[in-house]
């Protein structure tokens, strides 16, 4: 039995806004084991991004506890236990691709030789060898997002937290990056928490799908989903894939995600 790396117990988070309190997360209890690929799926406002940000210590919960790698989120962040990939690449425009990948390594205070070695290996991992000297704005959206994944991996974290990383890309690029991400996951064996609102993306990538529902944000259902390690895109036409996708959709429906 693999070890639990992320454990949330009865998490609550209420934002105080000018329109009164907003209950973003309610009574979230979730365990994620090492090496799992867990997708958080749900409509806008269901708290899936907020949950990821709580795990990353970018938000502080108002109730309950989280442990990441046996530490508090704060300790885990300072120990660089995770790499975070945002909705946009958030590459710094004044840095070249290799300098962007070097950014977290500079913050960590690694020496130049180690930095260079990690730049080379991680850019190779996301197929961006040859683009080291380019500036982010000279690359396509898909390449930018791959560079930001390389930057997250360069930290050599135990887990990857991904917040709709392909949400801003077109579907063809997204399919391609999904395949690449799956290969990357098989190769690196990292734990991945992946926020999405695409059902096919969630089913294709995940070992476990967490269906969330809005107002207040809570977990509606957790669906196991293991389609084997070497999946290709055409697995999406198999009955097993369609069955799980249907189950996810039913879960979203039952959680009032399709209500106006």
């Amino acid at each position: 039995m693999p070890e639990t790396v992320i454990s949330a117990q009865n998490l609550d988070l209420t934002f105080e806004t000018n329109d009164g309190p907003v209950h973003a997360l309610k009574d979230i209890t979730l365990d994620i084991a090492e090496g799992e690929f867990v997708s958080l799926i749900g409509p806008s406002g269901c708290g899936k991004t907020t949950l990821l940000r709580v795990i990353a210590d970018l938000e502080t919960p108002t109730g309950g506890t989280v442990s990441v790698n046996g530490m508090t989120p704060d300790e885990a962040r300072l120990a660089r236990a995770y790499g975070y990939v945002f909705q946009q690449s958030a590459l710094l425009p004044w840095r070249t691709i290799e300098e962007n990948v070097a950014l977290p390594l500079e913050v960590m205070g690694l020496d130049k030789a180690t930095r260079n070695q990690r730049i080379v290996s991680n850019l190779e991992l996301v197929n961006l060898t040859g683009f080291e000297k380019k500036f982010p704005w000279q690359l396509s959206g898909g390449m930018q997002q791959r560079a930001s994944i390389a930057r997250a991996l360069a930290v050599e974290p135990a887990m990857l937290l991904m917040d709709e990383p392909f949400g801003a890309l077109d579907e063809i690029v997204r399919d391609h990056l999904n395949e690449q991400l799956l290969k990357l996951w098989a190769k690196t064996k990292k734990t991945v928490v992946f926020v999405t609102h695409s059902i096919p993306e969630a089913v294709f990538l995940s070992t476990k799908i967490v269906v969330m529902s809005p107002r207040p944000g809570r977990i509606h259902e957790i669906i196991d989903c293991n389609l084997g390690t070497d999946r290709a895109l055409d697995i999406r036409e198999t009955p097993e894939f369609l069955r799980i996708a249907h189950q996810v959709r039913e879960g979203l429906k039952a959680g009032h995600s399709y209500d106006e």
Partner: protein, 369 residues
């Protein structure tokens, strides 16, 4: 395809040239032969530019015709102050229209779907400036505008070449001492205080209203006070410049430090970066366009501040001192010589900053290639 390509500048030029023949001679000293030369040049230029010529040939013809005619017209003003006839000004207008046509051709004619090559970015404004000077010279001398009202550029140029030592001393006093010192110190303290105010928020809350008030103080009001505090020499002028440049830099740097996005700051947070790491690697870089904005604003403010401050007591040297005393002595050519120097120094200062800005903030969407 016809060999003719009429354009309105050439047509108007043609009409003006023909009209100028009704008031020959142009000036008292020109006689009646020279106007015919001018008219011949202008007619040739106007007619040639209406033919379908190659780009280079048309540009060459227009340059020769417009500047050739202008040169003869300026020459005809010798010993003929204020005696120009209607015909003179009509011919001047015709030459200017050919110059306009030249600029239009160089700018790509609007119809070629281009804005010309890299060279035109310098040539076109230079031609424009040259024509301003030519018109200024000819109108002032031709119409006999009093010297006190507006001296001709040739007199200003003569004054500049004849008084280089005075101008150099004034430049040294005002620009190299007061402006440069005040600019560097004012901008630097504004920048450093912004860094501190950003780190310690209470500092910003207390300081910004006071800074706001200081920046609203009229320079005319503080300059005499600074003279009393810091003496007659350049130090009091530098103090005025410091007061004027400090606040734009403070406000712009503070705004710039807030320019990085939430996502970028979150990113640095996930790396466990310290305040100073975030500042150095992210926020100061993102603030660079704002900081350069302040540097450019300050470059003009500093020059204005130092010159005006010299109106309130100064040793007998300095650009502002010279302007205020020479105005009193009706030596307007000296005043204009100082104005010209201030304009050149200010433009070069600004231009150098703009070039530096391009190389530092090359990544900004407005400069990307």
């Amino acid at each position: 395809m016809s060999v003719f390509r009429p354009n309105w500048q050439a047509l108007m030029s043609l009409l003006a040239t023909l009209y100028s023949l009704t008031a020959v001679p142009f000036t008292d000293s020109m006689g009646s032969g020279t106007p015919l030369i001018v008219v011949a040049i202008l007619l040739a230029g106007a007619l040639a530019s209406m033919l379908r010529l190659s780009f280079a040939l048309e540009a060459a013809v227009l340059t020769l015709a417009s500047f050739g005619a202008a040169a003869v017209l300026i020459g005809g003003l010798a010993d003929a102050f204020g005696t120009a006839s209607r015909g003179y000004f009509a011919a001047l207008g015709a030459a200017w229209l050919l110059g306009w046509r030249l600029v239009t051709v160089l700018s790509g004619d609007g119809s070629r779907g281009s804005d010309g090559g890299g060279g035109t970015a310098i040539i076109v404004p230079a031609l424009f400036g040259l024509w301003v000077v030519i018109l200024w010279e000819c109108i002032v001398r031709g119409a006999g505008v009093p010297f006190v009202l507006l001296p001709p550029p040739s007199a200003i140029g003569l004054k500049i070449t004849n008084s280089t030592s005075i101008l150099a001393a004034d430049f040294k006093q005002t620009v190299l001492k007061a402006v440069l010192f005040g600019y560097v110190v004012g901008s630097l303290t504004g920048f450093l205080v912004a860094i501190l105010a950003d780190r310690f928020r209470f500092f910003a809350n207390g300081l910004l209203p006071i800074g706001n008030m200081v920046s609203a103080l009229p320079m005319i009001g503080i300059a005499p006070v600074m003279v009393i505090w810091f003496g007659f020499d350049w130090q009091s002028k530098a103090a005025v410049v410091i007061v004027m440049t400090f606040f734009p830099m403070l406000v712009n740097t503070l705004a710039g430090l807030a320019a990085s996005s939430d996502m970028e700051r979150d990113l640095m947070r996930t790396y466990g970066a310290t305040h100073w790491q975030v500042l150095l690697k992210l926020r100061l870089q993102a603030a660079m366009p704002f900081i350069f904005n302040a540097l450019k604003i300050n470059s003009t403010l500093a020059l204005i501040g130092a010159i005006v401050a010299e109106f309130f007591g100064t040793p007998i040297v300095g650009m502002g001192f010279r302007i205020s005393t020479e105005v009193g002595r009706m030596n307007l050519d000296m005043v204009w010589a100082e104005i010209a120097m201030a304009a050149i120094v200010g433009s070069l200062f600004y231009g150098a900053l703009a070039l530096l800005e391009r190389s530092v903030t090359f990544w900004h969407p407005s400069y990307r290639r």
